[in-house]
Symmetry: C2
Subunit: 333 residues, 2 copies
Amino acid sequence: MNEKLTIDDIAAALGVSKTTVSRAISGKGRLSPETIRRVQQYIDEHGYTPNHQARGLAKSRTFNIGVVCPVDYELFDLQYFHRCLQGISQVTGEAGYDILISMVAGTDVAPLRRLVENHKADGVILTRTMFDDPAADYLKKSGLPFLVIGTSPDPDLVQVDNDHLAGCCELTQVLLGKGFRRLALLGGDGTHTITATRRRGFELAYERLGLRPDPSLIYMDVSGVEQTETVVKDVIAKKADCLVCMDEKLTGLAQTACRQLGVVIPRNLRLASFYNSSFLQHSVPAVTALDIDDKNLGSVAARELLSMIDGNEPQNRLVRRYQVILRESTAVS
Amino acid sequence: MNEKLTIDDIAAALGVSKTTVSRAISGKGRLSPETIRRVQQYIDEHGYTPNHQARGLAKSRTFNIGVVCPVDYELFDLQYFHRCLQGISQVTGEAGYDILISMVAGTDVAPLRRLVENHKADGVILTRTMFDDPAADYLKKSGLPFLVIGTSPDPDLVQVDNDHLAGCCELTQVLLGKGFRRLALLGGDGTHTITATRRRGFELAYERLGLRPDPSLIYMDVSGVEQTETVVKDVIAKKADCLVCMDEKLTGLAQTACRQLGVVIPRNLRLASFYNSSFLQHSVPAVTALDIDDKNLGSVAARELLSMIDGNEPQNRLVRRYQVILRESTAVS
DNA sequence: TTGTAAGCGTTATCAA
DNA sequence: TTGATAACGCTTACAA
């Protein structure tokens, strides 16, 4: 209704100065309880809502944080992104911050640049990291506080990530513990750091047992139905016990390939995924997977970014919120 | 680098007034070409970037638009949302606007209220509409320009939507044209207006041929694997020719159910979807579907909202960008 | 405990 | 063609 009520109006109505009103609202400075009460009451009755724009100008803050969303995110990435966003949203919301989405296509950081140059955000979260990430490079130069969700070899980047290394290692260890020795690994885009991390976790599990994975059973940069079918054929030919896929997309491809080739899971081949999804949970048979709390990841990232914005020393965070969920697809025959 | 360069600095450096600089930048008012050139040159050399916050305060605009994203969006909704967002992002970006995401859970519009009350956006887009949508109700009261993507029975809402009615009708007509007479319809959440629209389109196709669908073959509010299996059993028992699913999620459920029940598509039952996805395109067999250009929908919505923000009369828009894609799943045996 | 006044970086309204 | 100067709504020294 009275959208245009300002701090001045209240001051005039109450016969006090706008400083007093400002203080009563922010709670800063010492005021008589009586004054505070009067201001509060007036606000409650007349429905004043502060103008963040003005507040921002005065404090040179926008109370926005930017979140970069790659346009090439696919079906499953979106789920991850959405859950991250939930965590981010919750934390930032409580702190009075809003989320500005910047959609970047490929290596073109123009939208991000706009956001930064126009001073529209106080900090930025990158939800994906790549080697030589142009977005990260740009942000580094900009001087704006930012962090990446994910792990990067770049030590200058503030990083928040799940301990995928430990998680993947653990899932692999569980499989090895079941007696499967010939595990095949199916990996996607090698330019994503997560791919390297998962592979490392896979290998680490072997090393802990003093073993080594069969290098000919590690397939990287796999994508598409045809390629996956080729891999599955090869995996069967090489008599692998179990196929471990790096994410749910690859797992889906593997399932399709198996169905096409008449490979029955878990009878002819076991199947596991380094990333869980409701999809894998409901597929037939349900697929063993590493379950990661993405929402929590978003919360942690947001909290860290807000702390950086407040001038605190940045700190990398490795979140250990995951669990191995064993399902039918890795049943021992 | 010199992030803190303001219009004042430029004015001082060039020995002109800030008004002049402001005009040179905005292109408003008459200035000598020479002055404009000097200002431009200075900006180019020293890298001035305007402060949107201040600009916003002066013009009482935020240059943000809010986009509401329900947290309960699932896998497939997200794809729709993401594509919409691409369209929105492109249009708003070109107009110098940014996108503020407001995640709302269920009927709790608190995050949206925060956004509105803090004057953080000049307008809002709702990417989903429900009957008695609390978000829409709130926005109506707020007075902020907003529109919904989707169709609502509420005549007070500015609506931008694909012509689902025509699209669904067309797909249904194609199926009827193939000689299938006993079409079953599988629908989801009845509180979503889209569900009602799709049903109407389905029925309309029959009416155009002077026919009526078998009411016992229309299944609404279906969700979950078990329920879908029950429906598929029933559909088979009632000797339907084809099962039409309202979206790709239901289609996926139907596919799983068929696989479980040993129902072979398209031999024992034909399958079609009122919403296409890469998923249906790649599944085996590929599924006939209505393909809709969601990105374009987002663009249209964004353009309309910006127009409303500029004070133009709101206008409902019915976008006719769809195509029926026939695939293996509806092959005539 | 409260008030005055000077910012914050723009745009807009007058004059000149 | 330009320039003072006053908004825009809020915060915050510095006074009182």
